[in-house]
């Protein structure tokens, strides 16, 4: 579904993405993990088109999209939820979602868009907040809105950046259930996460990044016991 070859991005002296190769298969749930500053969010920015790579190629559904602007990628089926929530603060929750529904695919009739919003708002449990201004939500509600808005664009591949950070265990469990349901409805998921239990429960496959590079890849148990991965985490922690 998605294939990335030799993707690199520098910020001054920092190599935030360094020759990253990555494949995402249709229908899977892929986790990207790594210590703080490993370059995970940068990778998502490159994928969603907010950053242009210095080098490398991105292919999505057989087309090269390396130079495509973000909105075109959205139309092709790339959805994204941000790590730092960015609701449109002067719009209600409903209106926030409507933006995604109206513009996520070109020429969506208003009636269709509203139906999409109704479905998604139900699915994500935001119905009671529909008429609340997004600027007045709690952080947790903002996170849910972030995910819901991405869903409204009807993505084929959904990129999630730490949407579960800050959730209590019971809430995380709910969220895990939600992501499963999303996948079962036919959406491929790439998610970034720090909570290992979530990664273990959800991911079919795990990619580990450190210093902008992919240092390991595979099923959770294999990756978790990889010495390079342990060093990346422990080395930074101490």
């Amino acid at each position: 579904m998605l294939s990335v070859q030799g993707l690199s991005k520098r910020f001054g002296g920092v190599h935030a993405a360094n020759a990253v190769n990555l494949r995402v298969e249709a229908g899977e749930i892929l986790a990207v993990i790594g210590p703080n500053g490993a370059g995970k969010s940068t990778l998502l920015n490159l994928l969603s088109g907010l950053l242009r790579p210095d080098e490398g190629r991105i292919e999505f559904l057989g087309e090269t999209i390396t130079q495509a602007p973000p909105e075109v990628r959205a139309w092709k089926g790339l959805g994204r939820a941000f790590q730092i929530v960015q609701p449109f603060p002067e719009m209600t929750v409903w209106e926030n979602l409507l933006v995604g529904a109206l513009y996520g695919k070109p020429n969506t009739p208003a009636r269709v868009a509203e139906r999409v919003v109704e479905e998604v708002i139900e699915l994500t449990g935001l119905t009671p907040k529909a008429q609340t201004l997004a600027g007045e939500l709690t952080l947790l509600e903002d996170k849910r809105l972030e995910l819901a808005r991405a869903l409204c664009t009807r993505p084929k591949l959904l990129l999630l950046d730490e949407v579960m950070a800050g959730l209590r265990p019971s809430e995380a469990l709910e969220a895990v259930e939600l992501v499963r349901r999303i996948r079962n409805s036919g959406v491929t998921v790439l998610f970034i996460e720090h909570l290992m239990p979530v990664v273990r429960a959800l991911a079919d496959r795990v990619v580990v990044m450190d210093y902008g590079q992919v240092i390991a890849e595979g099923p959770y148990d294999l990756v978790a016991s990889n010495p390079k991965v342990r060093e990346a985490y422990l080395g930074r922690a101490s």
């Binding site: 907010l50 909105e71 960015q86 719009m91 209106e95 933006v99 513009y103 008429q131 664009t153």
Partner: protein
């Protein structure tokens, strides 16, 4: 919506009312107020995308000069159209150049643009330069109320466009662009197109208003038509009335221009002081404008 319709209705029948000896003055003031309110509505349309322009004096002036220069050959209505188109075309250039500028950088760049335009008009061989340009009245003066009704027409067009945009999907694209450009793009909003479209509609309307203004004053000079004063009026009125609404700039325009006219009679130069003071007071005490006094929360439509 109802208020907007009502206002336009009053504007239509105003010349038929028994206005007494003040009739000429009242109609003249009303015509000016309509044109400036139209300019303010146009400015607000662009502001909805987050672009606070100081170039609307220039769009107004370009429209005025283009209409004045082409009217003898083309006739009144086509000339006005030319004025709108010239302003719209120049805005396309400005909009493209400033796509990546935000906040104060955008404001300063648009201000610089107006000053360059003013100099160009001042120096161009066919504009009358610093001496100024005499202009024929609308329809060669055949209808005494022609200019007045043209102003009503431009105001109706501006208010109609403003309402229509508020009720269309463009409303959401503009608000999203303003409140988070990067997120908007990731959600599929074609931000570049939205910004440029807003620029062109806005400048076209400003240019139209400028053209009618030229045929009203019968004389143009770069200092008046391109003055910073126009840009200030275009910006202060919507902020005072209530940004991103139709009622706000309309109501604000009528109130402020009345105030301005009264002040002009009393003190002449320096009347712009009201704009400065109102702007400061609004930002400090009523940052959401007049309409917020009677409206609920939400971006809603007004």
């Amino acid at each position: 919506m109802i208020l907007v319709g009502l206002l336009l209705l009053v504007a239509l029948v105003l010349p038929g009312l028994p206005l007494g000896e003040w009739r000429a003055f009242l109609l003249d003031t009303a015509q000016f107020a309509f044109l400036i309110s139209a300019l303010a509505l146009a400015w607000d349309l662009l502001a909805r995308t987050g672009q606070l322009s100081l170039a609307h004096g220039a769009f107004f002036g370009l429209g005025a000069y283009a209409a004045a220069l082409t009217a003898p050959a083309l006739g009144t209505l086509p000339a006005l159209l030319v004025g709108g188109v010239v302003a719209g075309a120049s805005s396309l250039f400005l909009g493209l150049a400033t796509l990546r500028l935000h906040g104060m950088y955008f404001a300063i760049a648009t201000l610089a643009f107006s000053e360059v335009m003013r100099t160009l008009v001042l120096k161009a061989p066919f504009t009358g330069g610093a001496i100024g340009l005499p202009v024929q009245p609308a329809f060669g003066g055949a209808f005494p109320l022609g200019g007045y009704y043209l102003a009503v027409g431009v105001l109706a067009l501006a208010a109609g466009t403003s309402l229509l945009v508020s009720r269309s999907r463009l409303h959401y694209a503009m608000a999203a662009t303003r409140q988070g450009e990067a997120v908007a793009r990731v959600l599929g909003v074609p931000v570049v197109r939205v910004k440029l479209l807003a620029f062109m509609i806005s400048a076209f309307l400003a240019g139209l208003a400028g053209g009618v203004y030229a045929m009203k004053t019968l004389f143009l000079s770069p200092y008046d038509a391109f003055g910073l004063g126009r840009a200030v009026e275009a910006l202060v009125i919507p902020i005072f009335g209530g940004l991103y609404t139709t009622t706000g700039p309309l109501l604000g325009g009528l109130i402020i221009v009345s105030l301005e006219t009264w002040l002009r009679l009393r003190i002449g130069e320096g009347y712009l002081v009201v704009y400065g003071v109102i702007l400061v007071l609004t930002i400090l005490f009523l940052p959401k404008g007049l309409v917020s006094l009677f409206r609920r929360k939400g971006v809603g439509h007004a």
